[in-house]
Structures are given as C-alpha cells and as structure tokens.
C-alpha cells in the first residue's frame, strides 16, 4: 500500500476503541474468539494407579502429553506473522473454503522404556518410540 494510505490507516487505528476482538481482515483466519495458544498438556499414566505394579518393574508410569491450541509465529521467526498472513490470504483466495488453520502438533517426541514380567516370569525390557511429547509447534 502507498505511504498516504498507510498514514490514513494509522490515523484510523489510533481513533478506534481498543476492543479485544480483532477486525475481520482477510488475513484474519479465525472467527473463534478465545485463542488457545499452542500448549502441551501433561497426562500422567500411573501404572501403580492401574494396579499393575505386580508385573511392571519400572517405571512407576509415564507422562503421556498432548498438544492443543493454535500456533503463533514469533515475529522474529523465519515464518513471521506478515508472511503467515500473506500465505493464508493467498491460500484463501485460491481455495476459500479451506483456509488452513495452523495446527498445534507434537514437534519433538521421546521414547520410554518399560521393564516388565511376562506370563512365564521372564523379564522384558522394551523401548517404545514416540511415547512422550517433548515440544509442540506448527507443522
């Protein structure tokens, strides 16, 4: 946009009442009011609470995390909000009904190991990959 228009916009912006909801500019791809930021929730699966400590030797349980909410790009990130808004707008123009809503998904996964007896009292140590979410973010 040209500089004049931008000055106009700035003037508009400064007179507008500061309300929580954002204008529905095309780049604004979400109608939902509350924005749940991208977060990792922790659920602890306790083998003891499940009454399994007679056959599971270790661990006591494990953190089964999951991710929820929306991604927000930190402005100084490689994909900053402006680029993100432009990408969203372009996708919207090309294909209005499915504006991509950035998911919040596991981006770093970790294994756990479980040590347990089998039916014949043999002992098994098994690694389970991708059982614990260490970080969430955008794909």
């Amino acid at each position: 946009s040209t500089g004049g228009k931008r000055r106009q916009q700035n003037r508009n912006r400064s007179t507008q009442p500061q309300d929580g909801s954002r204008s529905s500019a095309p780049a604004d791809y979400n109608s939902s009011d509350q924005k749940t930021p991208c977060r990792r929730h922790e659920l602890f699966v306790s083998f003891r609470e499940l009454g399994w400590q007679d056959w599971i030797i270790a661990p006591e349980g494990y953190a089964a995390n999951y991710c929820e909410g929306e991604c927000s790009f930190p402005l100084n990130a490689h994909m900053n909000a402006t680029n993100h808004a432009i990408v969203q707008t372009l996708v919207h123009l090309m294909n209005p009904e499915n504006v991509p809503k950035p998911c919040c998904a596991p981006t770093k996964l970790h294994a756990i190991s479980v040590l347990y007896f089998d039916d014949n009292s043999n002992v098994i140590l098994k690694k389970y990959q991708n059982m614990v979410v260490l970080a969430c973010g955008c794909h």
Partner: protein, 264 residues
C-alpha cells in the same frame, strides 16, 4: 491416570475432571494402555521366587542404563544381599553397547538343571534349558548371553585354577553321553568371584529358528590336573544358591517391523 477427560466424545477438552476413575473407566484405560504397549492381556507372572532375583536385577540395571535416570544404583540393592561387596556392575560395557542398538531385551529363567552325579569315570555336568519359543515373531536376536555366578572357593588353596567349558547339546542319547558342541571355555581362579558371561548368540538364533534343536546347554569343570569336579565344588551357583545369583540367559532383539497398533 486419574485426570482423564471423560466427557464422552473423542476430542480432548481442557476441562479435566480431577477425580478417581470408576471401575469400567479404569478397565477401559487398562485395555487402551495394554494395546499401546502391544500386549494382548496383562501378564500374570508366578513370582513365588520373589520379584528381585538375578535376571530382574540385571534387567533393572539395563533399564537404568537406558533411562539414565537417577535411580538407586543396582549395586546398592545387590550389596544388601551379599556379605562380600563385589564391585562388579551387573551390566558390562559390552551389554550396554548391545543395548543401544536393541529395541527389546528379554531375560529367560533356567527351566531345568541336572547335577548328574555320575560314576567317577564319567564326568559331572550341569544342564540348563531356556524356552525361547515365546519371543514375539518379527524379532531378530542381535546378541545373546548365558550368565553364571561364581563364588570365591576358599576351601582349596587360593591359587588353584579350574577349566570351565560351556557346550551346546546337539543330540541326546538314552544310554550314553549327549553329542556336544563346545561354545566357550574359560580358566578360572578358585578365588574369583562375580558374574561370568558367555556369548550364545548363534546358538540362540538356531533355537529360535528350529526349536526342535533347543536341547539346552551343558557346563562342565575340571581341575588343572584334569579331574572332573562338580560345579558346586568350583563355586558356581545353581538352583539351590542365592536367588540373586541364579544363572539365566539374556537376549537383545531388533524389531524387524514396527508394531502397528490395531485401532480400537
């Protein structure tokens, strides 16, 4: 866990209800977790021999090595049992190397043990057998070890040595010695104390591929003058010995295909 979202639909919602699970919810949770762990049902081991004997202690040592968490070092547990404070860690460097490459490690209890007190001209020997038929298919053995505990033998003169031999039983005969294949031999000092480990990777793979050939192992000992002696005289711990020194076998596996969890 106790704080699981229970409002019916699959979506996870923020508002967790922090309360104890009801019985059917707990059963559902147990089924769900067993399916994630790839187990058809919850195992019911017979632990009359106690939970912490030699194999579980060794496996717990491997577990601590993998998870790297600050747990009670296994030696501390062991020293509670032993009058001697042998410093030998259960898991050696070699096992740790196998461990890093393995997806699963399994220890097997010794199913049978005969101390054949034969007539003097025939030799003493001790037999061991392990049931490898329970290995989940699609697992390939990358390494396997047979572990025996030797105690210090103080009766004889301290610098006496024994020659220990481990054989794979190839064919059994009712009226004479079995056909044997020598796997390993080791010269031991009477005063030695600690775990002995013998590589039986090739033998274990044969037993998995062809269970009919799984006729077990034999261990024999002789003095430096060639006299056959019983394993007890040489200080080897058998079934009548301390629980945490019982002989066992351990195998390291690499999964050939990833366990795909059946949708519920």
């Amino acid at each position: 866990g106790s704080n699981y979202s229970l409002d019916g639909n699959n979506e996870m919602h923020l508002g967790f209800i922090h309360r104890r699970l009801r019985t059917h919810e707990k059963r559902e949770m147990q089924k769900e977790i067993l399916s994630i762990l790839g187990l058809p049902h919850r195992p019911k081991p017979n632990l009359s021999q106690g939970k912490y004997n030699s194999a579980p202690l060794f496996m717990l040592d491997l577990y601590n090595t993998i998870s790297g968490e600050e747990k009670i070092p296994v030696e501390v547990k062991l020293s509670r049992y032993h009058s001697t404070t042998q410093s030998l860690p259960l898991a050696t460097y070699q096992e740790t190397a196998f461990l890093n490459d393995a997806d699963m490690v399994m220890s097997f209890v010794n199913l049978v043990e005969y101390d054949r007190e034969l007539s003097p001209q025939r030799r003493h020997h001790k037999e061991f057998k392990f049931n490898l038929s329970l290995i989940p298919d699609s697992e390939a053995i990358t390494a396997a070890e047979f572990r025996l505990y030797k105690e210090c033998v103080s009766r004889t003169i301290r610098n006496e040595t024994f020659l220990l031999k481990v054989y794979q039983v190839v064919k059994e005969h009712p009226d004479r010695e079995a056909d044997l294949f020598l796997l390993d031999s080791r010269r031991l000092w009477a005063a030695d104390e600690g775990w002995l480990e013998f590589d039986i990777t090739a033998t274990s793979n044969l037993w998995v591929m062809s269970p009919v050939h799984n006729l077990g192992l034999q261990v024999s000992l002789e003095t430096s003058s060639g006299l056959s002696i019983s394993s007890k005289e040489a200080g080897l711990v058998g079934r009548s010995g301390a629980l945490e020194k019982q002989p066992f076998m351990v195998a390291f596996f690499k999964i050939s295909n990833v366990h795909i969890r059946a949708p519920r």
